[in-house]
Amino acid sequence: MSTAFQKVYTQISQITKATCSLKAKGVGYDELATINGKLAQVVKIMGDDVTLQVFEGTGGIPTNAEVTFLGKAPSLKVSDQLAGRFFNAYGQPIDGGPEIEGKDVEIGGPSVNPVRRKQPSELIATGIAGIDLNNTLVSGQKIPFFADPDQPFNEVMAMVAMRAKADKIILGGMGMTNDDYYFFRNTFAGAGALDRIISFINTTEDPAVERLLIPDMALTAAEYFAVEKHEKVLVLLTDMSSYADSLSIVSNRMDQIPSKDSMPGSLYSDLAKIYEKAVQFPESVGGGSITIIAVTTLSGGDITHAVPDNTGYITEGQLYLRRDSDVGKVIVDPFRSLSRLKQLVAGKKTRKDHSQVMNAAIRLYADAANAKTKLENGFDLTDYDNRCLDFAKDYAKQLLAIDVNLNTEEMLDVTWTLFRKYFKLEEVNIKKEFTDIYWK
């Protein structure tokens, strides 16, 4: 961008840890500026007093720094050249490749008119029964993993991304360790999928506030491919808890009154703005879609914390991983995991008995959990309790474990086999129309 005729301000009146204030005219809200080359954004205008938030912090900025306003909000150049590239939070290449040429689009653009959306109805098969059978994913859905930091969520997410038949996979990494960044890079390269991948990465080495731009960058790219190219786009955001932490840093520096868990009062809206970019477009506008799979790390498994709590209200379900000590494997927890859109495909795009079989199996798995509590409390188990416990082990090993790779029909057949092996017909509580066919 040419800066030849732009006015340069050199009198900063106030500098705090994160913001600089100065007198300037004709400045727009949300506009970008550079201060001695550092990027900043207008966050407050009172008459001539303009407050700028400096993304990487104000350390080293003198009161006579050169301030230039760029006349636009943060933006990303979009074109097919994005494919296969790695970028930082400002959308600048970090892979040594050339700059992208294309249309300059402001990030954080407007919302899709709800009447122009289509109800999601296309199944995303992952081969993992804990997902496909119990918590089926649908394109256009937004769903996070709720996971403790030590759980293999990035691995599962990469596996899902590789198996899902998406045209483009966009990775938004926020506060990602360098090791995880290389894990994704190597996995994508190893699968020969690099040309379908676009990554926006903010690692733990980068300034925390820059993270705030990552989801909007990733989703602006996603909207380009979904709207203009009518593609099926899968967006991976990890980790949204680091994003929320940055929000709280900024709101704190802006002297806002914090609400629950020191998070800003607008946390719900801030997160919803990102997740609601997930969309299925109807055929009439080309039928592209954006599906968002995110990660929200929990502290000590606490889901009442403001971040997972607000996320749960926004997203269409959540997936939990858990180590099942009885079978020694990581499973997708069937109790707390939920895909809200599963009924749009279960029994419609899959076999008719899907919903009933799923619910019956989870109910019996819950009975097994009760039996286990009884056992731990030193009570005698009934015959039914013992059968439930045996069922639970097989169920966890053959279906819930994340290393399973089956199609849904096979998953249903396996479940029926387990039902017959351990239970009587009246114990499974399934509609007669299905037991007539499958209880053989």
Binding site: S111, R117, S355, F379, N429
Partner: protein, 570 residues
């Protein structure tokens, strides 16, 4: 939030439009200090510069009311979403909520010389088989006389259909269009008695266990994933109402899309017509501007009151009122007001109670009745019901349907907690009288008996957990399993099964009687608890199969017979 310097009188709450880069952004005045007006802009303020011009409209946030709103989808400020161009919502795009070209078949009701007051009925048009009244202007003062009224025929909404002579002898032209400021309650009725008429929803845990009434209020709090939205959709599909207004307030866009997609196909179980015909959607989904969120619930309520003044039964659902409260919090935060509990504004309780207070069953001045039934969901932070929105709502809503994580985890849907939930209407003598006349005298005592059994069942299950299966007498197991029968057969209901999803009242009565007879049966003797478990599991399975069968079908009768035989023979 934007501060404007004004050069004339401005009122609190006045609407203005700020011009920026070719867009006109709607905003509402929230504070006035000297010549400075603090306004809340309803849209993104990106790029707004100092020096932008603003134009004041002279009125508060109001909506346009008239024929042609049914089956439409509006945003929180009553813009018709279908009329908006493009895939994305453009900033500063405002559309007319009504169709000015459409012609309506008008039938006069009032005659020349009639004395009328504001909102008295002058005529009628029909929309989607609903008789809609054309009323005297809501702003009319005192008593006016009908000077002229057009004969039956086809008219557009802006045509003058009547001329009234006001108290001072001035002419008042009447069209089919009304205006009303959304934040004010309509009080154009003669009396608002205690509501008493059962509102059938087809959801057993509501109708049988904790009924809501026409003109009643209720709320559904629950942590995420416990089925708030599924329950709300079930009610909006099945409830016996003339008009259903759904305010999607700060929730997921896909949930609104589900309504857009399914309602035009689904059939109203009471009239046989398409559900969409009686439905209006006000969508301010979570990614739409927060500032318009507060407006969206008021817009929905004002529409509901409008239809109520025509003598219609309106059901208003808001999902979720917590998002509305959060929007209030964000605004109060920006105004730098001193915060109340959890950083919510101090007057949150007053705002919630005023809003719920607008619902109700009313006698209109012409003796006809109308009602606005209001059901709101609450999304308590962390699933903890001790938070300001839940607590303040509990003070005003008469029905409480508490959704429980534990029930949801066990897939016992709808996850309405049977012990903690309540309907105050069960205690109303007016309601008891109505049930006695329309169903039967034993209904309420039976329901109360089952509630006690549920309570007892819960206590016993806790004891069994402590003492073990063999540590309690066999009778304890019988009592526990009877409560399980109530739970499985009446309370649990499969919202995704075509038959089980909706249970008409007569079928509910039959199920209730059957369950009561299972519970009252004391003739069976069991040697050990295992026999008890086997017997009742078999019973539950039969009852569930019956619930899945078409009412009075051969299959249904067959299961019913098997159940009755089991009660007889054991």
């Amino acid at each position: 939030m934007v501060t404007l310097r004004v050069d004339g009188p401005v009122m609190q709450g006045e609407i203005c439009y700020i011009s920026t880069g070719g867009d006109r952004l709607m905003a509402e005045v929230i504070k006035l200090v000297g010549q400075d007006a603090y306004v809340q802009v309803f849209e993104s303020t990106r790029g707004l510069k100092v020096g932008a011009e603003a134009e004041f409209t002279g009125h508060m946030l109001e909506i346009k009311l008239g024929p042609g709103m049914l089956s439409h989808n509006y945003d929180g400020l009553q813009n018709d979403l279908d009329k908006m161009e493009g895939v994305f919502l453009k900033r500063g795009q405002y559309t007319n909520p009504l169709d000015e070209e459409r012609e309506w078949d008008f039938q006069p009701i009032a005659k020349v010389g009639d004395k009328v007051q504001e909102s008295d009925w002058l005529g009628q048009v029909e929309e989607n088989h609903q008789p809609l009244k054309i009323m005297a202007p809501f702003q009319l003062k005192g008593v006016a006389t009908v000077k002229s009224i057009v004969p039956a025929g086809k008219y557009k909404i802006n045509d003058t259909i009547a001329v009234l002579t006001g108290e001072k002898g001035e002419d008042v032209n009447v069209t089919m269009v009304q205006h009303w400021p959304v934040k004010f309650a309509m009080t154009n009725y003669a009396e608002k008695p205690r509501p008493f008429k059962l509102l059938e929803t087809g959801v057993r845990t509501i109708d049988t266990f904790n009924p809501i009434v026409e003109g009643g209020t209720g709320f559904i709090p629950g942590p995420f994933g416990t089925g708030k939205t599924v329950l709300q959709h079930a009610i909006s599909k099945q409830a016996e109402a003339d008009i259903v207004i759904i305010a999607a307030c700060g929730e997921r866009a896909n949930e609104v899309v589900e309504i857009f997609t399914e309602f035009p196909e689904l059939v109203d179980p009471h009239t046989g017509r398409k559900l969409m015909e009686r439905t209006i959607i006000i969508a301010n989904t979570s990614n739409m501007p927060v500032a318009a969120r507060e407006a969206s619930v008021y817009t929905a309520m004002t529409m509901a009151e409008y239809y109520r003044s025509m003598g219609l039964r309106v059901l208003l659902m808001a999902d979720s009122t917590s998002r509305w409260a959060q929007a209030l919090r964000e605004m109060s935060n920006r105004m730098e007001e001193l915060p109340g509990p959890d950083a919510f504004p101090m007057d949150l309780g007053a705002l919630i109670s005023n809003f719920y207070g607008r619902a109700g069953y009313v006698y209109l001045r012409n003796g006809k009745v109308g009602s606005v039934t209001f059901l709101g969901t609450v999304s308590p932070a962390g699933g903890n019901l001790k938070e300001p929105v839940t607590e303040n709502t509990k003070k005003v809503a008469r029905c409480f349907y508490g959704l429980e994580q534990d029930r949801a985890d066990k897939k016992r849907y709808p996850a309405v907690n049977p012990i903690d939930s309540y309907s105050k209407y069960l205690e109303y003598p007016e309601f008891a009288e109505y049930i006695k006349e329309h169903i039967n005298e034993e209904w309420i005592p039976k329901v109360l008996d089952l509630k006690t059994r549920m309570q007892r069942g819960k206590e016993i299950s806790e004891q069994i957990n402590i003492l073990g299966d063999d540590g309690v007498p066999v009778e304890y197991h019988i009592t526990f399993w009877k409560s399980e029968i109530i739970d499985y057969v009446i309370l649990q209901q499969d919202a995704f099964d075509e038959v089980d999803a909706v249970t008409p009242l007569d079928r509910q009565e039959e199920i209730l009687n059957l369950v009561v007879s299972i519970c009252e049966d004391e003739t069976h003797s069991f040697d050990n608890f295992q026999e008890v478990v086997d017997y009742y599991k078999k019973m539950i399975n039969l009852c569930k199969q019956m619930n899945y069968s078409v009412y009075k079908s051969e299959q249904y009768n067959d299961f019913k017979k098997q159940i009755e035989e089991m009660i007889q023979n054991g």
